[in-house]
């Protein structure tokens, strides 16, 4: 059996075992853990588009919102059933993922013929259109937002999705398709000359990424139990782009670590702000944690423009050992 598959099964098993004890985890840390999981899915899937295929997309939150709303509508229309809850949830997540993938196909088809900045603008425009649509459609709560009465997202489902996302992305990147992605990223003209259909590869990466963003949206909706169009605005997309850039474009382990760090950091700064041993003089600065957070981001980007973990680093090698077999 090849090693990536072993890792996949092991991590699913670990997720299942931990989920048996999730009641014992402090709810606050549990909340952060689930958020980390959702951010890993978002970061790793966007990395497929931005890092491996070299297409700059600013619309990832748009796909996430499609997934969130679609899955929420499934749950709301089926209603609450104690039996078959997991089955309904899987269905809702898949509908969310597939709707987002469909949206990805619709946007990606025509717009991926564009390059660089133009693509960024089209994806940004798409995400804004989606947001405005959700803000005005009464059936999904419009500007009031939408409450989901159940919270089915738990540790197991979240980290099962994380494991599957990482597996699929790693698997894709190390397959023939992956060679195609990398070629398109490195030189699109040369790729076309070699007979590679660049648009096909770009659309594929885009649709797969949108699918997982949709899954992340579904998990989010069934965890926070309330979704609002504002939550999927342009800033949310930027947050995901930051995870990818900080982790290192085209470096999946780096992106995972960046997702973990960037989720913990604001909460860590929150804890630091209320730390009693803190000198009163610098407390206001620490309490304005978003200033500190942004400063840290700037510092990190200045010190490590190639991303936190460049591909040659020791940590990356250690993390990659398991996945090395497929490389």
């Amino acid at each position: 059996m090849n090693r990536p598959k072993t890792w996949l099964l092991l991590s699913i098993l670990a997720a299942w075992v931990i989920s048996r004890f999730q009641g014992a985890i402090n709810p606050y840390y549990y909340d952060i853990l689930i958020t980390i999981g959702i951010n890993i899915i978002l970061g790793v899937s966007l990395n497929l588009v931005t890092g491996y295929t070299g297409q700059f997309s600013l619309g990832h939150a748009g796909f996430m919102s499609v997934g969130a709303y679609a899955s929420a509508m499934v749950t709301l229309s089926v209603g609450a059933h104690a039996r078959g809850e997991s089955l309904i949830f899987i269905g809702a997540l898949l509908v969310g993922g597939l709707s987002a993938a469909l949206a990805g196909l619709l946007v990606g088809g025509p717009s991926l013929r564009l390059k660089g900045d133009y693509l960024a603008i089209v994806t940004l425009g798409f995400a804004e259109i989606i947001r405005v649509v959700f803000e005005n459609v009464e059936a999904v709560g419009a500007a009031r937002g939408l409450s989901i009465p159940v919270h089915t997202t738990d540790f197991f489902w979240t980290f099962l999705s994380v494991a599957l996302t990482i597996y699929v992305v790693v698997f894709l990147v190390h397959s023939t398709y992956g060679r195609g992605f990398l070629t398109v990223r490195d030189d699109e003209v040369a790729a076309e000359a070699m007979g590679i259909n660049a648009t096909k590869y770009k659309v594929l990466a885009f649709v797969v990424a949108a699918f997982f963003a949709g899954i992340a949206g579904g998990l989010y909706a069934h965890f926070k139990q309330f979704i609002h169009p504002e939550g999927f605005g342009y800033l949310r997309s930027v947050d995901i782009v930051v995870i990818v850039i900080l982790g290192g474009m085209g470096n999946t382990p780096g992106v995972i670590i960046a997702a973990v760090l960037l989720t913990i950091l604001p909460e860590g700064l929150r804890a630091l702000g209320s730390w009693s041993a803190l000198p009163e003089a610098i407390r206001p600065l620490i309490q304005n944690r978003m200033i500190l957070y942004s400063l840290l981001l700037i510092a990190l980007m200045l010190l490590r423009p190639q991303g936190l973990f460049s591909t040659g680093g020791r940590l990356t090698k250690w993390l990659k050992r398991g996945k090395g077999a497929a490389a």
């Binding site: 853990l33 958020t35 500007a143 937002g145 980290f159 994380v162 989010y220 139990q225 309330f226 609002h228």
Partner: protein
């Protein structure tokens, strides 16, 4: 991958080592201290802090000082749920003061309900907030009440024909228009024209032209101050002399600056008037000014009342048990606050008077209190 989540957990547990003290009463506050709606969030939190200091100076609650756990939600969806979980699990708060923004109260509310911790929202007007469950309260009136108040007020003033100009992007605005229309037509008024715009619009001439031709006695304009000021200016340039009316969304300094004198003699309903000569209100205004260097807005007044109402309820409950506090809050009757006498009804909503204000001499002026 699993290695990573173990690291994450270890790091989190290290970060979260909190110190527990048993001799104070901990109350959670989550508010938008940064981000888009920070100006309301900050004034509300300031007023809550002012109320806390006054309570502690007077000996605290049940003989113990009150300690506020204030957390910022960045005006961003998604953060409120995390914060509420933190305040309940780590800080062990016995009650939570919610957000003024309904969308964030709707996010934190279900978690309070699930953990049976009472939450009081000072300013969320969406009816759904208190429908979450029996642990969720609010101390402001609902949009339906504002619509009703202005309809009654318009009829008392002798206006028979009204035109309505709604901000179709804001649920708040749509709600006010709907309730105004219902109450106005039920009691003998007539709606001669309904028009709409979207937040962010700058030009309202098309809507105003169509309104002008129907010669209304009054124009009901339940929007937010940015657009209201522009509508007012453009209407006067157009020669529309009819007075305008709106809700608490009008109350912003920017309204006076942008509209100049064009909205003089117009009316709007709100929660609180700084003109109110009640000594308690004047003391609140002076203390707030002395501490924060600004005149308190309506969200500040609501925050101040909510904190004091909660402290009084804990005192009556004679316990910091969340269930006992909930029961005590639920039977609040005729609590006299700076925004009027507050009684909580069976649906955990506040029944309280509204204030009608007018505009003149470059400021807001008190007209009357309208009882529920």
């Amino acid at each position: 991958m699993k290695r990573i989540s173990f690291f994450a957990m270890a790091a989190l547990i290290a970060l979260g080592a909190a110190v527990y003290a048993q001799d104070e009463i901990k109350i959670g506050v989550y508010a938008s201290l940064t981000g888009g709606q920070a100006s309301f969030g900050i004034s509300q939190t300031n007023a809550i802090q002012l109320a806390m200091e006054e309570i502690n100076k007077a000996g605290g609650v049940l003989g113990k000082p009150v300690k506020l756990i204030v957390d910022d939600d960045r005006s961003t969806p998604g953060e409120s749920a995390t914060i509420v979980r933190k305040q309940i699990a780590n800080d062990k708060v016995c009650a939570i003061l919610g957000e003024f923004a309904s969308s964030r109260s709707l996010e934190g509310g279900p978690i309070c309900q699930e953990n049976k911790i009472p939450m009081i929202s000072p300013g969320s007007t969406n009816p759904k907030v208190t429908e979450i469950g029996d642990y969720i309260f609010r101390t402001c009136f609902l949009d339906s009440f504002q619509g009703e108040v202005m309809a009654r007020f318009a009829l008392e003033k002798g206006y028979k024909k009204a035109a309505i100009l709604t901000d179709e992007k804001q649920d708040y605005s749509k709600g006010l228009s709907q309730y105004f229309k219902e109450n106005f037509t039920k009691n003998g008024g007539q709606i001669v024209k309904e028009q709409s715009y979207s937040s962010g619009d700058k030009d309202f001439r098309a809507q105003l032209t169509s309104i002008k031709s129907t010669k209304p006695d009054v124009i009901f304009l339940p929007g937010y101050y940015n657009e209201v000021a522009l509508v007012g200016k453009q209407a006067r340039q157009f020669g529309i002399k009819a007075p305008m009316m709106g809700g608490d969304g009008w109350e912003g300094d920017a309204l006076l600056k942008v509209a100049g004198t064009s909205l003089d003699g117009c009316f709007f309903s709100t929660h609180f008037s700084a003109d109110n000569q009640d000594p308690a209100v004047q003391a609140f205004i002076n203390n707030y000014k002395a501490k924060f260097g600004a005149v308190p807005d309506c969200q500040a007044a609501l925050g101040y009342d909510t904190m004091r109402l909660l402290a009084q309820a804990i005192e009556r409950a004679k316990s910091t048990d969340p269930k006992a506090i909930r029961d005590a809050v639920a039977i609040t009757k005729d609590f006299s606050g700076v925004t009027g006498k507050i009684t909580l009804d069976a649906n955990r909503n506040a029944s309280k008077p509204a204030v009608v204000q007018t505009i003149g001499e470059g400021r807001f002026k008190f007209v009357e209190n309208v009882a529920p």
